[in-house]
């Protein structure tokens, strides 16, 4: 779920959707304040959040609302999301890659849930059962990204934005590894196409296998 969806509802978004998002933001306020006080402490804040059943229920409801987004809702949300990058530019920190990675993760996940739900759910269930430590870390990373982005809206100093941006870059780098893992897990051709079809030992052979003219 893209954070921008939560913080910048469009005027065209139905009232119930806005209500859910606002309620979620209210519940998140104390967590966001903790992140703003010490961005490097984000993981401890997320651990607390994951124990808060009421807020988790609101996350679930907000996620369900996102599932009903139209393509134009999503593009609108992405536009607001990318506008956050401008705040970081003012603070002299580049988060362009991080924003791309987060958008890719959220877009791809939403696509899978909407179009390949059974396959995605099976892949994810296997991941949780067989690699619980990685699965737990994924939740921490995903939720950290979410809270950092919300905190960005509230940040009032360039110094604070820089600190948030550094954390965002760190977590986005980790998120990308999960996105690629899940993408490969959903790619049926991957396992079938692991056979070696060419080798290179010299620069000329390298050019040949990379098909460089």
């Amino acid at each position: 779920m893209s954070v921008s969806v939560v913080v910048h509802p469009s005027p065209t978004i139905p009232y119930t959707r806005i209500t859910v998002f606002r309620e979620l933001l209210d519940h998140l306020r104390s967590y966001v304040q903790s992140v703003l006080e010490d961005p490097k402490n984000i993981e401890a804040v997320v651990q607390e959040l994951l124990k808060d059943q009421n807020t988790l229920k609101l996350f679930y409801r907000a996620s369900k609302e996102v599932l009903n987004f139209s393509q134009s809702d999503w593009l609108e949300a992405l536009k607001s999301f990318y506008a956050l990058g401008e705040r970081f530019k003012d603070a002299g920190i580049d988060v362009e890659d991080a924003l791309d990675i987060i958008a890719e993760h959220d877009t791809w996940k939403l696509q899978q849930i909407r179009k390949n739900f059974d396959k995605y759910a099976n892949m994810f269930f296997d991941f949780i059962v067989n690699y619980p430590e990685d699965a737990n870390r994924y939740i921490i990373v995903d939720m950290s990204v979410f809270l950092l982005l919300i905190a960005t809206i509230e940040a009032r100093s360039l110094e604070k934005l820089r600190a948030l941006g550094e954390e965002l870059n760190r977590f986005a780098e980790e998120l990308e590894l999960y996105t690629l893992t899940f993408m490969i897990g959903m790619d049926e051709s991957w396992e079938k196409e692991l056979d070696i079809i060419a080798t290179a030992r010299t620069p000329e052979e390298l050019r040949r296998v990379l098909e460089i003219d």
Binding site: L75, A200, L206
Partner: protein, 80 residues
């Protein structure tokens, strides 16, 4: 030594010359043991990913002095 899988071979066909040249440079760095990537997760821990601009090269280096190229993927966003 470098090896490429059939999956990688398919992916590379979609790249333009400029990306292929950057890919070659990155592969040379990896073969020299420089600027390696980070491991993927769960069942794909043996694979590593490294960025080449908006592309990610997925490779493995289980054996000394040998790199296997598995995939190169562009970041995608926008359409749901």
């Amino acid at each position: 030594m470098l090896e490429v899988t059939s999956h990688f071979n398919k992916s590379v066909k979609h790249l333009n010359e400029s990306v292929k040249k950057r890919l070659k440079k990155k592969v040379e760095e990896l073969l020299n043991g420089q600027h390696g990537g980070k491991s993927l997760k769960g069942p794909y821990r043996e694979f590593k990913a490294v960025r080449i601009g908006k592309y990610r090269l997925i490779y493995s280096d289980k054996e000394p002095c040998k790199i296997v190229l598995h995939d190169i993927r562009h970041r995608k966003t926008a359409y749901i």
